[in-house]
């Protein structure tokens, strides 16, 4: 994913990762995990060169996607999710939050679960929001340009 593009400028290390990509995999789907993840994402987006307001938009939208995983993906117990953030050459940022849960399936679809103000915020903050149901879980993909 992403990787290093020629001409994308100096690579800044964040925890051993390049500045144009942040991958946090196997994050415990628990409310207490969200503040440190927000902090890492805020740091990464700032290092990637985003203006402060855009950093906060991205952090809030991602927080809502992660909160939905915490609230809905694992009704029967513990689980985890992956967060990937990639900054393209044009400055476009793509954030994906992938879980491996069932979202109360078949009672509640991801669209139904991602309801209310959380989804309203994600759609208002991101340029584009896609929710994909996978065999293994659900992936929310948000684009910021």
């Amino acid at each position: 994913m992403g990787g290093q593009h020629p001409g994308s400028g100096p690579v800044v290390d964040i925890g051993g990762r390049s500045a144009d990509e942040l991958s946090l995999h196997g994050v415990k789907a628990s409310a207490e995990e969200l503040p440190p993840v927000r902090k890492l994402l805020r740091l990464w987006a700032t290092e990637a060169g985003l203006p402060r307001d855009e950093v906060e938009d991205l952090v809030l939208a991602t927080d809502e996607a992660m909160a939905n995983v915490v609230d809905h993906a694992y009704p029967d117990g513990a689980g985890s999710f992956d967060l990937d953030a990639v900054c393209g050459l044009t400055g476009q940022i793509v954030i994906t939050v992938t879980d491996f849960g069932r979202w109360h399936a078949p009672v509640m679809s991801p669209e139904q679960s991602l309801r209310g103000r959380g989804l309203q915020l994600m759609k208002g903050l991101a340029h584009d929001v896609e929710i994909e149901t996978l065999v293994t879980g659900t992936r929310v993909r948000m684009t910021f340009s």
Partner: protein
Amino acid sequence: MTETDQPMPVVPDDGELLRVFQEERDAAVVLRAVGEVDMVTSLLLAEHLTRVEAEIVPPAPILLDLTAVTFLDSAGLTVLVDHHQRCADLGSALQIVADHRAVLRTLELTGLDALLTVFPRVPEAQG
């Protein structure tokens, strides 16, 4: 301004993420939140609001000063909406104080700026 002597309970390890201070202004109560309001710390904010609602003498308002809140998500919005209604039911009013993007943009995007009462600053004490 003194920190309320309420415990910082509910969820362990929320550390310094959110702190809530209380101040009396005439009959009104000012709750000043400092930090981030998310799905963990919104529980703490709700506890403080519930406690003050039990003490307030209507029609005196509760002022919730969010000017030092740097992050507010939908869990926090739910607390604001719930307690806006509770205060109205009591004959009091929840007055939110905010003048910055972290709060105002979130309220605008969800349309809650039309429901909630928002002031740019805490009014000066009378007399």
